[in-house]
């Protein structure tokens, strides 16, 4: 039982020292303070925007929060905004998981097979050198202006990110875990899913979460190049006829998409990595 004590956190010796890890009530008040300041900053920004629009800056350049809000409402009520959102969502919903899974699978395969890595690594690095959005027009040529060309671009952006991060994870993995498992006669399916994937799971989640915004970028770039529907199409079309409020509506929809996807990924990550000890903020004491 004495064991439980031996890793106790050191208690600050002096009460003069205003410790950043404070007691419950202080932390609670601090939490409220953070929220208040945050709301004040956001509210102040929108207020300034609303005032500036029409007084100091032309509304067709920056629109205004009230105009954007009413455009958002009418767009969803009687426009085809829902349809545009759905189309973009569909492109991401197909391209993103397929890209992430194949990226992870290839990163895993490279990590396991030295031969595979030796043959293909330079090729993959060369391909990665291509600015991927520059390939978007090519996808339009190959796959047409419909859904599949956008799925292709989303796939491409998601795939490479997940591949590289997974492969990095495989190379950083502690060999001793594998050795131990193999000495315990663990192999095949169990070695892959009970040892290797959990060992690299922090990398997997980093890959998935960093590629979420890129998946959305892929869909929008694809739609910018050539399309007849989708949020990217909506933004480009609205900008073309100076409906600036609608441009912002499109941007807001994309932002919400990214935030929602990231939140979902974060929830899954928190559950999957609950074995990890989280460091909240690194403190560097003077």
């Amino acid at each position: 039982m004495a064991d439980k004590v031996d890793q106790e956190q050191p208690v600050p010796a002096s009460s003069l020292d205003a410790s950043p890890v404070a007691s419950g009530s202080v932390r609670y008040i601090r939490g409220i303070g953070v929220t208040v300041v945050r709301i004040a900053i956001i509210g102040g920004f929108f207020l300034l925007w609303e005032i500036a629009s029409g007084r100091w800056i032309e509304p067709f350049l920056i629109s205004s929060p009230s105009r954007i809000f009413s455009s958002l409402i009418t767009g969803f009520r009687d426009g085809d905004l829902l349809q545009h959102t759905w189309v973009t969502f569909e492109e991401i919903a197909i391209g993103f998981p397929v890209g992430a899974i194949s990226g992870i699978a290839l990163g895993y395969a490279f990590g396991r097979s030295r031969l595979l890595a030796e043959i293909f690594e330079p090729i993959i690095i060369a391909l990665n050198g291509i600015p991927r959005t520059a390939v978007a027009p090519l996808f339009i040529v190959w796959l047409g202006i419909g859904l599949w060309s956008k799925v292709g671009v989303v796939f491409l952006l998601t795939f490479f990110l997940n591949f590289f991060i997974t492969y990095t994870g495989m190379r950083q993995m502690d060999q001793e875990y594998i050795d131990l498992a193999r000495l315990m006669r663990v192999k095949g399916w169990k070695l892959t899913f009970k040892v290797i994937f959990p060992a690299i799971s922090p990398y997997l989640f980093t890959g998935i979460r960093t590629s979420i915004p890129f998946a959305v970028i892929g869909a929008i770039v694809g739609e910018f190049v050539a399309s007849t529907e989708g949020v990217g199409f909506f933004i480009r079309m609205s900008a073309g006829i100076f409906k600036t409020a609608d441009v912002f509506v499109g941007i807001i929809i994309l932002m919400i998409m990214v935030v929602v996807m990231d939140k979902i990924a974060e929830m899954i990550e928190k559950r999957a990595l609950r074995w990890q000890t989280q460091t909240e903020h690194i403190q560097i004491q003077a």
């Binding site: 064991d3 890793q7 315990m184 663990v186 074995w275 990890q276």
Partner: protein
């Protein structure tokens, strides 16, 4: 009756059999500058069934390398190692391995870690649970079954790491300075527990350490290794009765004798170093 006699004869033979025979083993590492670094030279060593052997020597003498060779995690440059009569080629899955750091799988709970090596084909679910519970209780980890390794203290993860290797009952356990990073008290408590656990099952243990007291206190025989290139300098028989009292090991008959023989060898080594 004949069967019984046969069985006891066999077990008597097994007692005399060597479970590990290391024969003239060399290990040479290639350094990045293409120079050859000789880690082990002409190592010959036999380990009997149920024996507790410690290997002691200064850091960098190749003790850990020797364990890696027995586990088949690395191949010898010359010579051969027999395990239960067969030459080791590739991974030796008949050993359990306790590494220097605990290396519990951090994504598994204590009970999942301990049960990890229990093959579902050999152990039915109730057997498996019984086995895991037995070892968790033996190691004093009851109540911590659902904890993750990150939530355990150093001593507790060490215990869990040891019973993880014991639980699936490999005939030989290899331990690589398992108590190295622990404080003196925890270390003694764990040495005591290790001996108690071992006395129940009597699995063969090869235990690497750089601590002379630990080497004598635990072992039936102490293998003394010298600094690079690692050679076996001597093998000392420890004539102390079991069960032993780790906490008063100095007072036990036979300790002084073994310890002073061991210390003489090291003193000699140190003298050579200073001249």
């Amino acid at each position: 009756m004949a069967d019984l006699a046969q069985a006891s004869l066999e077990s008597a033979q097994n007692q005399n059999d060597f479970v590990i025979k290391v024969e003239d083993v060399f290990k040479v590492f290639q350094t990045p500058s293409q120079a050859n670094l000789s880690a082990l030279e002409k190592i010959t060593l036999d380990v009997r069934h149920g024996e507790f052997v410690t290997v002691v020597g200064p850091s960098g003498c190749g003790k850990s390398t020797l364990l890696k060779l027995i586990a088949g995690l690395s191949a010898s440059s010359a010579g051969r190692i027999l395990f239960q009569g067969d030459e080791i080629r590739g991974l030796n899955t008949r050993v359990g391995y306790v590494p220097q750091e605990s290396k519990l799988f951090p994504w598994l709970t204590v009970e999942e870690n301990v049960g990890f090596g229990l093959d579902p084909k050999r152990y039915s679910r109730p057997d498996r649970e019984r086995q895991v519970n037995y070892f968790i209780n033996l190691a004093g980890l009851a109540g911590f079954e659902k904890y993750y390794p990150a939530q355990l203290s150093g001593g507790m993860s060490k215990r869990a790491s040891i019973i993880r290797a014991l639980a699936y009952e490999p005939p030989v356990i290899l331990m690589d300075e398992p108590f190295g990073p622990l404080d003196a008290q925890t270390r003694m408590v764990l040495q005591d527990e290790l001996l108690k656990i071992w006395e129940q099952k009597r699995q063969t243990i090869v235990f690497v350490t750089h601590d002379l007291v630990e080497a004598v206190a635990l072992a039936d025989r102490v293998v003394v290794m010298t600094h690079r290139p690692g050679k076996i300098k001597d093998i000392i028989q420890v004539r102390m009765s079991r069960p032993r009292n780790i906490f008063e090991i100095h007072r036990q008959e036979g300790f002084d004798d073994a310890y002073s023989r061991l210390w003489n060898i090291f003193r000699h080594e140190l003298n050579i170093g200073t001249h």
